[in-house]
Symmetry: C2
Subunit: 233 residues, 2 copies
Amino acid sequence: MSQPDLAEKPRLPLSRERVLRAALELADEQGIDALTMRSLGRELGVEAMSLYNHVANKEAVLDGLVEVVMGEVLEAVDDVRLSSPAEWKPVTRRRILAAREVMLRHRWAPKVLESRTEIPAVLMRYLDGLLGLMLQGEFSADLAHHAMHAFGSRGLGFTQELFEEDTEMPAETVGMMAEQMAGEYPNLGEMLKVVTHDADTTLGWCDDQFEFEFGLDLILDGLERLRDAQRLT
Amino acid sequence: MSQPDLAEKPRLPLSRERVLRAALELADEQGIDALTMRSLGRELGVEAMSLYNHVANKEAVLDGLVEVVMGEVLEAVDDVRLSSPAEWKPVTRRRILAAREVMLRHRWAPKVLESRTEIPAVLMRYLDGLLGLMLQGEFSADLAHHAMHAFGSRGLGFTQELFEEDTEMPAETVGMMAEQMAGEYPNLGEMLKVVTHDADTTLGWCDDQFEFEFGLDLILDGLERLRDAQRLT
DNA sequence: ACCTGAACACCGTTCAAGT
DNA sequence: ACCTGAACACCGTTCAAGT
């Protein structure tokens, strides 16, 4: 057919934008390991090699994903000015939990973020905003600096997960596990026994969101105390 | 030569032990990315495929590395019994800093640990020990549970590094960077200016060990406070 | 029982060739 | 200017063949 392809799909041209959008979708739906240049090409109905016309290489794709995700974070937290220093704690708390919601939508994001060799500019922007809250909250520059380190990845809404989020289990099952475990791991066994027997205790087994907020509040409270101590001197 | 190889090196036979020792050395010296089945074979003067007679696959090698590293950690921290509950804080602190020393000797360890899909038994053993200290310190099972989550990877002596440890810089250089940065990142710029001008402030620029201990103490202090509050009820 | 060589199915990426 | 096909240099791993 020498006719111009009237019947064919418009097949909008490739672009960095489209490549990144496809990459995001792929990572969200199939995980970051499923994202290869070849699979990404397939998703776009194109050979893998065509992608190199729009992105330098795979690292550039990952950099782009970080930009997109951090963009979502920055959008979710754009309230910056405190009307009073006292607002520091609740505002910071809200901001970090908002960042966390974005991270939970893109579970691969922490891993990709961690794999960057240069600090992405979007991350700098976010950290600058977080630091701004501390300065407005009347932290000294020095204490604010330490605070940023103390937050670590928690400031972005995630923690290093030492073990995968387990599937939900009925309290009974956990109780049985406790029995089994008690032999090799006496303290874990004992803890599990108590935690699962008290009904009024934190529900069932590890609730990641609860634990995240627990750790976050521990740090926020500690920092506030240090700030107040520093003010008196 | 039909003679038996008297002159050749004894060439002690391969074994899981030897494979792991070579892997450890390779990872320590050249980084974890340089550890491939082929490079590991080369190190041992053998084809990559021979390794499969002694380890199931590459994942098994990484599992083995975790065992070795956590073994070093467990060795470094075998003091367990507290003579009094009050000892909880200093002993826990020492234990975690001892674990950190091992991690600093094997910089790839956090990444490998994080990549395990099952919780390694050696890790469980370590966590059980840490939990034991908390229980001896008269934490309730529930609070001890939350505390373990709050520690996260810090309990093992490392934090998620959002940016690589920069090379040491003279204070002047940092000062210049601050000027440059102030445009795009006003809060970071301001912080840097102050931090680098105060001579009596925390030395120079980010001291990782200092920041780690700062964050650790923040958590330990917070936990102790919660424990004492819980005791009164 | 252990080691090897060739091969397979995947990567990311280069490059000359097509349109 | 953009896309493609063949190819290269790497992975981890399988398997039949050697000793």
